[in-house]
């Protein structure tokens, strides 16, 4: 193992990774599981950490764990729920569901990832395009569209909160 100190890393980065996982998965329990998976994986592969940015390395692992969970649950199913999706009560209730999560939950997983990479990580469109295997033009369009929709949802929630 390298000098990776698991407990310190959990203490320093746990909150950031949970926030990212929660924003990507929109499910508190799934997010907690994904972050625990990520730390366990990081611990086991810590010899491969290049020592540069621990948070960036852990974030990448966490995102991969989240994307894996999304892929696993993909067939859970939007087709099946169809147009009734708005009225569906998902059993994966987060228990703690702030407005930003409710708003993110209205975007697709790909859109959520794009917004987070663009707004939080300030990635350029070339990198987003590479990660999603789309063209930079498509990445830009996807990001702009997703940000606009998310902002609209957030404003709606703000209005509801004030009303």
């Amino acid at each position: 193992m390298s000098g990776f100190d698991l407990e310190r890393a959990v203490s320093e980065h746990g909150r950031a990774l949970l926030t990212r996982a929660y924003a990507l998965l929109c499910d508190w329990h799934e997010a907690e599981d994904a972050v625990q998976d990520a730390f366990a994986s990081a611990y086991e592969h810590s010899g491969k950490f290049d020592g540069k940015s621990e948070l960036a390395w852990l974030m990448k692992i966490t995102e991969n764990k989240c994307l894996d969970r999304l892929r696993r649950h993909k067939t859970v199913s939007l087709e099946e729920l169809g147009d009734a999706a708005g009225s569906v009560t998902d059993s994966y209730d987060a228990g703690y569901s702030p407005p930003v999560i409710a708003a993110l939950g209205k975007l697709s997983a790909e859109e959520r990832a794009v917004v987070l990479w663009r707004v939080c990580d300030e990635l350029d469109y070339g990198e987003i395009a590479r990660r999603q295997h789309i063209s930079p033009g498509a990445a830009r369009k996807r990001a702009e569209r997703a940000k606009k929709r998310l902002a609209e949802y957030l404003r709606d929630y703000e209005k509801e909160g004030r009303a």
């Binding site: 950031a16 067939t75 998902d90």
Partner: protein, 436 residues
């Protein structure tokens, strides 16, 4: 400069960061580390070694990666008792993809698949990701159940949801990407390319438009980058650009490039790199194509670049691209029991709830009079003589208003086998409803 939308989103996420209650993560992390250690425990390696030795002597069917091998290494896994051997393999990029066993139970198929690196480079681990998928059906869950370091073999279980209207005698599995390492990059130091930077105006002059893709052309080889060819050298939006086209093959293809030009005076001009996938006809594709294209766009005048030297380097991500496809025969077992029960909930009874049991799953669906009753009915568990079975995960569940009330449904998949005939009741809420 950030727009209002960006700021609104950024503030909301910052608030989320500040507000979330961070639980004690360590116990769960330790559990996972311990579980992974057990999964890789030396005794299993020893079992593999013993089986391999037996194979040399007897030539028996316990071949590495075969069904008997699987039963040997997954000694506590009940699923191996309810699947049939398949043992079909394909190989590409020195990765052998096998379907070891499969079985269909009604609208669910359970499969064991494995990946093995036969190159000796140990590229696989229990942290890999793949884009393994089925054609015409959906994978509800896939999880790594075994990893053997010695033979660099990963075994997955796949739970596949089948369209009940279709008769799946065969199932096709396809994969073309394996992400082998997380967070590890190989670096390629930028090196000078033998590309002449003197004639930007003779190439295409392109005005970029949103969503429009640059033209791609295959030209002469660039000897400094294995397999690479020079595409266009031209102008885009008045800026000089150089196009490098690299075939997608082998296991190191995802690349985060750095490109710049050094002029005679040592001034450096960095490129913005626009990347895209194209197919064998150099047409843009959203999927994994035949080539990866790097368009190096310089925010500099062509005069300042002319006569300069182009440098190209960067960091590789470890991904293996290939074509793995297997069609397997799905044997069907009539091990499904169906019941109709009445479920008591607060404030009444939900009548005619349909329950289906297979060795790998429990499905419940019905129509409740109220949303609260539907909510209360979600999340049942099978009950056997041994007690309430809780070692499972919910694949999907939900409730929505319909004509007759509130339709609800859920399905759970077990983490080990529960034979339908052993299930004596269903626990829903605080009640155990007997099955007769």
């Amino acid at each position: 400069m950030r727009g209002n939308d960006d700021m609104l989103i950024s503030d909301a996420l910052a608030q989320l960061y500040n507000d979330i209650p961070v639980p004690d993560l360590m116990p769960g992390i330790r559990e996972r580390i311990d579980a992974n250690r057990k999964r890789r425990k030396p005794v299993r390696t020893a079992i593999v070694a013993v089986i391999a030795a037996a194979l040399l002597i007897t030539g028996c069917a316990a071949a590495l990666g075969g069904f008997d091998w699987l039963r040997g290494v997954l000694d506590n896994d009940g699923f191996t008792d309810v699947v049939s051997p398949v043992e079909r393999s394909v190989s590409d990029q020195d990765i052998e993809f096998s379907v070891i066993a499969a079985q269909r139970y009604g609208d669910t198929a359970l499969l064991y698949v494995s990946l093995r690196d036969t190159s000796g480079r140990d590229r696989l681990s229990n942290g890999i990701y793949t884009n393994l998928r089925t054609i015409d059906a959906g994978i509800s869950n896939s999880q790594i159940v075994y990893f053997d370091e010695e033979t660099n073999t990963v075994v997955y279980t796949l739970t596949v949801r089948l369209d009940p209207e279709k008769n799946y005698e065969r199932l096709k599995l396809r994969m073309n990407r394996i992400d082998t390492e997380i967070g590890s990059d190989l670096r390629m130091k930028p090196e000078a390319l033998s590309v002449s930077l003197s004639d930007f105006e003779s190439g295409p002059s392109v005005i970029s438009e949103p969503g429009k893709i640059l033209p791609v052309e295959l030209g002469r080889r660039i000897p400094e980058i294995p397999g690479a060819q020079l595409g266009h050298v031209g102008m885009i939006d008045g800026k000089p650009f150089v196009q490098i086209v690299v075939p997608l093959e082998g296991d190191v293809v995802s690349f985060n490039p750095i490109a710049y030009v050094l002029d005679a005076a040592g001034n450096r001009y960095d490129a913005e790199v626009i990347m895209m996938n194209v197919d064998e006809n150099t047409e843009y594709t959203i999927n994994v194509g035949a080539y990866f294209v790097y368009n190096l766009v310089f925010d500099a005048s062509k005069e300042s670049l002319e006569g300069g030297t182009l440098y190209f380097g960067g960091a590789y991500s470890n991904e293996i691209y290939g074509e793995w496809e297997i069609e397997v025969e799905l044997r069907s077992e009539p091990l499904q029991l169906d019941y109709t029960i009445d479920v008591p909930v607060d404030g009444g009874i939900i009548e005619d709830v349909k329950v289906s049991l297979t060795p790998v799953s429990l499905s419940v669906e019905g129509i409740a009079p109220t949303a609260e009753a539907a909510e209360a009915a979600l999340g049942g568990r099978p009950v056997t003589e041994k007690g309430i079975y809780n070692d499972d995960y919910i694949s999907y569940s939900g409730a929505h208003e319909s004509e007759g009330g509130f339709e609800f449904y859920f399905r759970i998949y077990y983490n080990s086998t529960v034979m339908p005939e052993d299930v004596t009741g269903i626990k829903i809420g605080d009640n155990i409803i007997p099955l007769q």
